[in-house]
């Protein structure tokens, strides 16, 4: 079973590991409304990237759900971090807000000329987005976006463990089959 899918000039890949420790041009952090790095991946960003990242985020104030901003990645392996305030805790219109958040991340990446971007399993875990919903919307939205006009040539979905990997892989396989049938 392949963990890679080519869409026009771009490739989507599944990978297992810690997104904050990846060698990639940019990655998405599922941020809080006040953009405080706080805990979880935020702890890793603050520790590995240094205090300059939080400092840089001060200029943006707070964001509404679906809002995204970009910062440098300090001393991390990545160059940029896209801070995305996705929906959380069973909130209204969760699926449509999640889709919009992902599109906003990709659009911002394109605006900044970013070629390579990693997404986590969007909204799962602490924020309670069901794994199946996250996999379907994240992969579906990315596939649709890459089918249009974009300068992005690589999207990596970085999954923490087997619990996240398996439903994403299942969705990925179904999606790959659909793409093959169309082509």
């Amino acid at each position: 079973m392949s963990d890679e899918l080519r869409v026009k000039n771009a490739v989507i890949r599944l990978a297992k590991g810690d997104i904050t420790d990846m060698e990639i041009e940019s990655f998405v952090y599922y941020a809080q409304h006040d953009l405080a790095l706080g805990s979880g991946f935020g702890t890793a960003i603050a520790m590995r990237g240094g205090p300059s990242i939080q400092e840089e985020l001060k200029q943006y104030g707070t964001l509404e759900t679906t809002g995204v901003v970009i910062s440098s990645a300090g001393s991390m392996k990545a160059e940029h971090i896209i801070h995305a305030v996705g929906p959380r805790f069973q909130e209204h219109d969760l699926e449509s807000k999640l889709r919009t958040t992902i599109i906003n991340c990709l659009t911002l990446a394109d605006e900044k000329g970013i070629k390579s971007i990693a997404f986590p399993a969007m909204g799962v875990g602490f924020y309670g987005v069901p794994l199946g919903v996250s996999a379907e919307i994240t992969l579906g939205t990315i596939l649709e976006y890459l089918s249009g006009q974009t300068g992005i040539d690589e999207v990596v979905i970085s999954l923490l463990d087997n619990r996240e990997y398996q439903p994403y892989q299942k969705q990925f396989s179904a999606m790959s089959q659909g793409v093959e049938e169309r082509t």
């Binding site: 810690d18 420790d21 790095l37 706080g38 805990s39 979880g40 991946f41 935020g42 702890t43 890793a44 603050a46 520790m47 590995r48 240094g50 205090p51 939080q54 959380r88 805790f89 069973q90 209204h92 875990g125 602490f126 309670g128 923490l160 463990d161 087997n162 619990r163």
Partner: protein, 586 residues
């Protein structure tokens, strides 16, 4: 059942309850006859005798009322008779949060004293989970949960910090016992024991890890620690989030299976033991093919099998034992620690009541992470303080890291003359090590005189004796030593002299070491200065690591001997300054 005025979150909570209910919970929700037997069993009630809102039956009724209104026919047909009442507003959810998180530690002592077998803690936990699912929880619960979800352990210890700590502990063991000493094996395949720990041990109490390593090695055990999936604690037990519970347990189980370990040994932690051994398989829906045991049982087994020898005369201090609620009441682990204590201590004094009737340390159920409830937690700790005081012991032993923190806090609050320790520390101290050990002097010799030449080191401590001692050691090895005796002086000298390294005490007059540390890290000119915390207050270690700045390069507990001081200083200086940089700064 619908109600137009009900908030979105309240609706979600009510819907969620329907998915969470099981026979055990429904039995407990229905069975209460309000006899009041539970009332005096609760440490919150004992500390607040005039406040009925702390009574377990009252607290349970706050959940029971909406259960009855929506999921029991009596409440639907005769709500006024059975006091059934729905939830409507977010304010009501906040009040419920204060009850289920702030007025109960899920210790289950009320369950033990209930003639109807009502397990309040079970549906109190369920209610916590319902609130968490709509984002209503104490801030500390959010922080810890997110750390465990995303970093893989509940204290946000990064993989590199964990591995570095294990390497450092191996170096310490080898320095003490010889270069060939096995240390701490990582990710060794096909071992008899895979040892899992509480992240608190890495962050605040690494001696418990090196003591365990000493015991495993002296027993000749074929053992390892995993590089990932090593956290046996599980905040899902406290937050009520079964998905978190399952995710954490699965990471641990999968790693043991990947290493083909035969037995997963769980270090001394009450909720970790319960979560990993008793609940995790249900949450994760995961079958395991290896054994699991508490390290208490492992250590006892080693003594009984003659694999290690202990001398109880090495632990003469009067000690008592505090039963963790999760170990004793939920898992029946209470005779083994006493048997072990009697083998390694010469003056063990029982605390009353004990075993499954013991009172909570008051830090259970995640209470230590919920700072907004600290005053009521400490007030409720009076019964525990009275219990401890009555023993006349000067040390309390507990097989739970959560209890270590809870007890340390209440001992300080009630000014008891006691320290808190764990069985692993006592067993390690009582070990009779017959093997020839390396002479520490060799290590000291290795730190050749003049090795620190060219370095300027600032020693900051309010104890003049320590400053003199450290300065003498460092100067003997070639360093130029600057001295500071309070926080303000430390900052002033650091700014003026820009030393290559600062050794920093935490408790100092004026600006504390914590404030100095934070100021240096936020100073553009000084922020990369290596800092080694040297303190006699290891419990303050967490204050340093809770700052929103990079952690210190080193952390050493007092008392510290010459060899250890030099080793830690050299370890920090070497990777920071390459040879040419040293030359340029001489």
């Amino acid at each position: 059942m619908g109600n137009k005025s009900r908030s979105y979150k309240a609706e979600k909570v009510i819907q969620g309850m329907g998915r969470k209910l099981n026979r055990q919970m429904v039995g407990s929700l229905l069975a209460c006859v309000h006899c009041g037997n539970c009332t005096d069993s609760c440490h919150y009630v004992l500390a607040n005798p005039g406040d009925p809102t702390y009574a377990p039956a009252y607290k349970a009724d706050q959940v029971r009322r909406f259960f009855k209104r929506h999921y029991d026919w009596t409440g639907r047909v005769l709500p006024w008779w059975v006091k059934a009442k729905s939830l409507y507003t977010d304010e009501e959810l906040e009040e419920l949060k204060d009850t289920v998180f702030g007025k109960c530690t899920n210790c289950r002592r009320c369950t033990l004293n209930c003639p109807m077998g009502v397990d309040y803690a079970t549906f109190n936990r369920m209610t916590r989970g319902l609130l968490v699912s709509v984002g209503i929880m104490p801030e500390g619960v959010a922080v810890v949960s997110k750390d465990q979800w995303e970093i893989g352990n509940q204290m946000g210890v990064l993989k590199e910090d964990y591995l570095e700590t294990l390497e450092w502990l191996t170096e310490e063991l080898q320095a003490e016992h010889g270069a060939d000493y096995p240390g701490i094996p990582i990710d060794k395949m096909d071992t008899d024991v895979v040892y899992s720990i509480n992240p608190r041990e890495v962050k605040y109490d690494p001696r418990t890890i090196s003591d365990a390593a000493l015991i495993f090695n002296e027993a000749g055990e074929n053992w390892t620690m995993p590089s990932e999936g090593w956290d046996m604690t599980n905040f899902g037990l406290f937050s009520g989030d079964d998905d978190l519970g399952g995710a954490v347990a699965r990471r641990l189980y999968e790693k043991v299976a990947e290493l083909r370990g035969k037995t997963l040994v769980i270090s001394e932690c009450g909720h970790g033991y319960r979560s990993t051994r008793c609940e995790g398989q249900n949450w994760a829906k995961w079958d395991i093919n290896f054994e699991m045991e508490s390290s208490v049982i492992t250590m006892l087994r080693y003594i009984k099998e003659g694999r290690i020898k202990v001398d109880k005369s090495k632990n003469t201090e009067p000690v008592t034992f505090h039963d963790s609620c999760n170990n004793a009441r939920s898992c029946g682990l209470f005779d083994e620690p006493r048997e072990l204590l009697n083998l390694v201590c010469s003056d063990f004094r029982e605390m009353y009541p004990n075993r499954s009737e013991n009172y909570c340390c008051t830090g259970g159920g995640g209470a230590m992470s919920m700072s907004e409830y600290t005053p009521q937690r400490l007030k409720s700790a009076k019964i525990k303080a009275d219990q401890l005081r009555a023993t006349g012991a000067t040390a309390v032993v507990t097989s739970c890291h959560n209890c270590v923190d809870g007890l340390t806090d209440l001992i300080k609050h009630y000014k008891l003359n006691m320290k808190v320790t764990q069985l692993v520390n006592l067993v390690a101290n009582a070990l009779v090590i017959e093997k020839e050990v390396a002479v520490p002097a060799e290590v000291v010799t290795a730190a050749a005189e003049g090795e620190l030449a060219g370095y300027r080191i600032l020693v900051a401590d309010d104890e003049p004796d320590f400053v003199t001692y450290a300065a003498t050691v460092l100067e003997d090895h070639g360093a130029v030593v600057l001295r500071a005796y309070d926080g303000d002086e430390t900052l002033e000298i650091a700014r003026r002299e820009k030393p290559h390294l600062l050794t920093l005490d935490i408790k100092m007059p004026g600006k504390s070491g914590i404030e100095v540390f934070e100021s240096i890290r936020n100073d553009p000119e000084l922020k990369t200065m290596p800092i080694c915390i040297i303190t006699g207050k290891p419990e303050l270690r967490k204050l340093i690591y809770e700052r929103a700045v990079l952690p210190p390069e080193g952390y050493v507990d007092k008392p510290i001997d010459e060899e250890r001081l030099l080793r830690n200083i050299k370890k920090i200086l070497k990777p920071v300054h390459k040879d040419e940089e040293i030359e340029s700064r001489k």
